[in-house]
Symmetry: C2
Subunit: 454 residues, 2 copies
Amino acid sequence: MTDHLLLPDIRIMLAETDDAGLAAVMSELHPATIADCCEGLSIEEIWQLFEHTSIEKQAHVFPFLPRAKQVQMVRGTGQEHMSRLIEKMPHDERVRLLKSLSHDVVDSLLPLVAKADRQDIRMLLSYPENSAGSVMTTDYSWLPPDIRVSDAFANLRQQAHHSETIYYTYVLDPERHLVGFVSLYDLILAPPTAQVSEIMQRELISVRVDQNKEEVARKMQKFDFLAMPVVDAENRLVGIVTHDDMIDVVVQEATDDALKMGGVGSMAENYMKVPLVTMWRNRAGWLSCLFVAELFTFTALAQFEHDMEEIVALSLFIPLCLSTGGNSGAQAATLITRAMALGYVRISDWWRVLRHELILGLMLGVTLGILGFFRASLTPQSVLGNANRWMLALVIAQAVTLICIWGTLVGSMLPLIFRRLGFDPAYASSPFVATFVDVTGIVIYFSIASVFLL
Amino acid sequence: MTDHLLLPDIRIMLAETDDAGLAAVMSELHPATIADCCEGLSIEEIWQLFEHTSIEKQAHVFPFLPRAKQVQMVRGTGQEHMSRLIEKMPHDERVRLLKSLSHDVVDSLLPLVAKADRQDIRMLLSYPENSAGSVMTTDYSWLPPDIRVSDAFANLRQQAHHSETIYYTYVLDPERHLVGFVSLYDLILAPPTAQVSEIMQRELISVRVDQNKEEVARKMQKFDFLAMPVVDAENRLVGIVTHDDMIDVVVQEATDDALKMGGVGSMAENYMKVPLVTMWRNRAGWLSCLFVAELFTFTALAQFEHDMEEIVALSLFIPLCLSTGGNSGAQAATLITRAMALGYVRISDWWRVLRHELILGLMLGVTLGILGFFRASLTPQSVLGNANRWMLALVIAQAVTLICIWGTLVGSMLPLIFRRLGFDPAYASSPFVATFVDVTGIVIYFSIASVFLL
């Protein structure tokens, strides 16, 4: 049963108000499948479909809808119904929804929500962007340490309906300090008469609520966790980050980094759905900045105008020399940015990276320099002017080598410098590094030429 | 308790052969934490530490060690012990280990492994790289449809020790066809007398064993699954892909794409640990190819040598014009490559992408063209030669606009063409696109100049 076969069926059921059929759709399909079908329906039709199931199931399907649709749906229904739905939604999902709504909609909705939920929402909304707190949920399941395993099952069964997961349960003391962790797997294999404190895992692996969400993702990946407990400064459990939210963090970060490194800036949405004007604004901003910076190549070249008039061959090699700097810089910047994203390289490693890249830059530069030497030695007489063929080849070889080293150094150090200054290292993109190296590359090139040729 | 405090403790325990202490370390710590400590120990010390726990726990810790350490450890122990460890290891992890071992080591080890495990290993080894089969594991838990919920618990308890997860259980008919799915959550909330077939989810969401692993990751992310069932052409369950393997796939793909897009090729390891020569070989290969391609800029420019001699200003604007093509191309290539990786853009969308990028290229080109016009109109008299200032400005504006459109088109179409030809679209990297656009950009630039100026 695939979505494009389902949708026409649902349309017919809606037209014929086939209550039994619609109820079956809502009860038997996975929430994500239902959400897929909803993308082809109008807001009114979705609400009509939703009426055929419990508010709990509605609250499960709702988060799978695209955010834009969710926002439209809030407007398309009564506030009373929406406030009930918000109470039943996973705690992290409802906060994400509220963040997408305009302030006046939130202000009119929140007073209708039950007090406990309202406080929970305000708490989750208060955490800074990119922190563990901003991606966690508060509907975790927990147990006291002195409960028996057999009673723990009954307890978890009660928590199941309003918990994001019962597979991982946290053991809390009366002050809600995190003292242990027990998985449903451990509970199922434990003797029913044992106490939870006897079987729980005591090694406390958790993250602080103010830790960066990328670090949380890395730590979860390291331990293969389904959920990571989030604690405050006093080690009290305040929430959990679940595996599905973590994968979203990882994918989002990868996209963000890729786009920044390609000089696009950040663009969260589906490429096919971004309006032309938004796309233009995003891309034109970056391109214009790079263009203005690149204007300095004109200024730099103008200084060496007479040298170029004397030996035309010099100007013919400019794109080759500059692209060498751009390419080697792009390589180094990409490697270091990605290594930082994976946690392999930290700011404190700058000296090791510098040494490493200096040696590599030299090795790469010499490789390319040799290639350049051979090509330049084949320069036709007509463009040589009164320059010596072998001297020109030597100039090109040296310029290529030096510019390659320079590009490698700039590319490897810029991401570290950006991080140090508090910027995202991914902004040290290939186009940015290339532009930066172009202007300096011209100066390097003509300085060498003036020593050996002019 | 952090690792750098633990390691000295473990060292002392090993030196004093403190059996109780070492046994406590092995029983109380998370396998990943133990593996962290092992990184600071010699191969002999690790085996000494491992002796203080069961073979099952050893098999749990082993996969968390870095692959290189695992390979060393295989050499450092008796084959008899290693074959027992392999029998207890998660099925996907042991296949990954065997893939890293040399053929003769595998050939001497495998005959010692129990027959059923050996067959399982050979089966998993047979799936092509990047397929769902290559990342799945065969130690899933399953139930027949006609079993009662109360009996299902007893059944799962028996399967628990050799299953990767019991949170998701698949319901199979006698021919092992996938007929349903039941989570431990569903089982816990179900009445004990109900039959599994009454409570199971019948919407079958699965992947085919030959499907690409990236598609599997996207599908798991869409449904927020802990594990995805993998079936053969006859819908028989052959394995599952678990959430921890999926996150590894996502991170690995993001790294691969980022490095390819930066013109580094693929490099799976930790940046800090790659030997200089390997790093040089990887990077020099790409840089040399780009360098050789970029040599054509010399050839192209040589054709227009006389034009440059006539109006020196023309050569001063070359880097600006070329970088415009490179930057706009890098943007477009990055956007499309990432959109393809996220599944937003497919080959069949090429026409929509082309139209979209043509309009955007025009909008961006005009934006930059206007900037270029103003800068070129300020060209000093000394480099203008006998060219008209406004004509030169017009040439620069048109060249920048056209090259920007060209770069955008090349950047957006190359990833699609690469995918069509069966290459990874990420190879349409920023440096690759820039080099491609440089040579053609020169021709565009001087063709316009020759119409208006020469």
